[in-house]
């Protein structure tokens, strides 16, 4: 039985295999009844509309059914029942479980107690492997993953998507530029681990110094609550904002990604530029999650 818990559980060959599979699906290589008669359980102990809807869409496109427990129902369960028990019960109803939970390691626990495959759809500040897969997928659709330079911009300290993406990128031969304000820099242990894995990581605080070298710019949200007051937030947020003027200094093929939802990190004027690929990235969630569902239930 195959669970999808952490990007760290994958080898590069396995990632490539999944991404190739997602590409075949996107190109129409599926019948639409592959998972007919199968039931997917969506257990969301905290809200994540986008992730949930894309899993629902992926299951529907493969002809499967779904049952779900939304976060209001889930939180009432939390009061009386352990996650382990919930998972054991739902295992008896469904053919696979997609779990979103506020505690780190919840998906690993679920995999121990489930008698069906578990897909981690985000556990607290921990892993969110299907997001990382669709990030990789989007980059790979535009550029070879080997030899490119990727800028990670914004909150690199708390941003979970960034840590797991950085780990996945270290399986490929890429150079990472970590661009973040003081206090939100990529944690030293992450940098240390990447260097151990022989990935080149450079740190910057000023995006304009490096924009011209980048093939990919991955933007993350800078959260207001990380700052002591509104003024310091706005001053940092404005100097990390992606605008057409900033991108004018970039390579013509530079692509801009963002896990969404965005706030002010990307100027809406960027949306119409050829660099803007974040809506395409969001759309890619469906073929990538279809590939994952086929992988665990097919």
């Amino acid at each position: 039985m195959k669970h999808i818990i952490s990007i760290r559980d994958f080898t590069r060959e396995e990632l490539d295999g999944l991404l190739d599979h997602a590409r075949r699906i996107e190109q129409g290589g599926y019948a639409g009844n592959e998972l007919a008669g199968r039931i997917l359980a969506l257990l969301f102990f905290e809200p994540s509309t986008r992730t949930r809807i894309s899993f629902e869409t992926a299951m529907a496109r493969l002809g499967g059914e779904r049952i779900s427990l939304d976060c209001v129902e889930a939180s009432s369960i939390v009061k009386g029942e352990s996650l382990a028990d919930t998972i054991r019960v739902i295992s008896g109803y469904a053919d696979a479980i997609v779990l979103r939970h506020p505690k780190e390691g919840a998906a690993r626990l679920a995999a121990e107690f489930a008698s069906v495959p578990v897909i981690n759809a985000g556990d607290g500040a921990g892993q969110h492997p299907s997001q990382t897969l669709l990030d990789l997928y989007t980059i790979r659709e535009h550029l070879p993953l080997r030899g490119i330079e990727i800028g990670l911009l914004g909150d690199l300290r708390y941003g979970r998507t960034v840590h797991s993406l950085t780990y996945a990128l270290s399986l490929y031969d890429v150079m990472v530029h970590a661009i973040a304000p003081e206090g939100l820099k990529l944690p030293q242990n992450v940098i240390h681990e990447m260097k151990e894995r022989e990935m080149e990581v450079h740190e910057w605080s000023d995006i304009s110094k490096i924009i011209g070298d980048l093939d990919v710019l991955y933007v993350t949200r800078i959260q207001r609550e990380r700052f002591p007051d509104a003024a310091s937030y706005y001053s940092v947020a404005s100097s990390y904002r992606v605008t057409p003027e900033l991108l004018a200094g970039g390579k013509p093929h530079l692509i801009v990604l963002h896990p969404l939802p965005r706030l002010d990190e990307i100027d809406p004027r960027v949306d119409s530029l050829p660099h803007a690929r974040y809506f395409e990235q969001a759309r890619n969630a469906v073929p990538v999650r279809m590939a994952l569902l086929k992988e665990v239930m097919g």
């Binding site: 952490s6 996650l83 939970h101 780190e104 390691g105 607290g124 921990g126």
Partner: protein, 154 residues
């Protein structure tokens, strides 16, 4: 107390049981904690701390009568006392002598320092750590403990 009397006390033999020797000085109580030996256990215990030893300077010694420690019990000790030696005593003689070796996975020994970790909730699981070169890694949340491991012992 004369020196001779002190020495006699330290090495007073036991008939059957386990002697844990060469424990890093000051770690004897943590060793007992790891072994789950508390004030309420019935074993007859002797503990000597800061004993002069040619091999490691100062050391602690623990003797437990009428209990032979199993391999998985003693291996946990390696976390805080990597040089410890275990002597299984039968009828006043050393029946078996062995070193300690850190097992690849530790279950229920160390508490995860990450407050957001699922292993710190009421779930029916034991904390689980993988032993890696730089310390211990929580197999639930990936948190890495690199120092002061004894502080996290359950």
């Amino acid at each position: 107390m004369s020196n001779a009397a002190g020495k006699a006390l330290l090495i007073s033999p036991i008939r059957n049981g386990t002697v844990i020797d060469h424990i890093s000085a000051g770690e004897a109580l943590n060793v007992l904690k790891i072994l789950g030996i508390t004030g309420s256990t019935t074993e007859c215990l002797s503990i000597a701390t800061n004993v002069t030893s040619g091999r490691i300077g100062k050391k602690d010694i623990v003797k437990i009568e009428n209990r032979e420690l199993k391999k998985e019990e003693v291996d946990r000790i390696a976390l805080i006392a990597p040089k410890a030696t275990i002597n299984i005593i039968r009828n006043f003689g050393v029946f078996e002598k062995k070193g300690v070796r850190i097992p690849p996975v530790l279950k229920g020994v160390v508490r995860c320092p990450n407050p957001g970790c699922i292993s710190n909730t009421m779930e029916p699981i034991q904390s689980t750590f993988e032993v890696i070169p730089k310390g211990l890694r929580c197999m639930y949340c990936d948190w890495v403990i690199t120092k002061d491991i004894a502080n996290y012992i359950i």
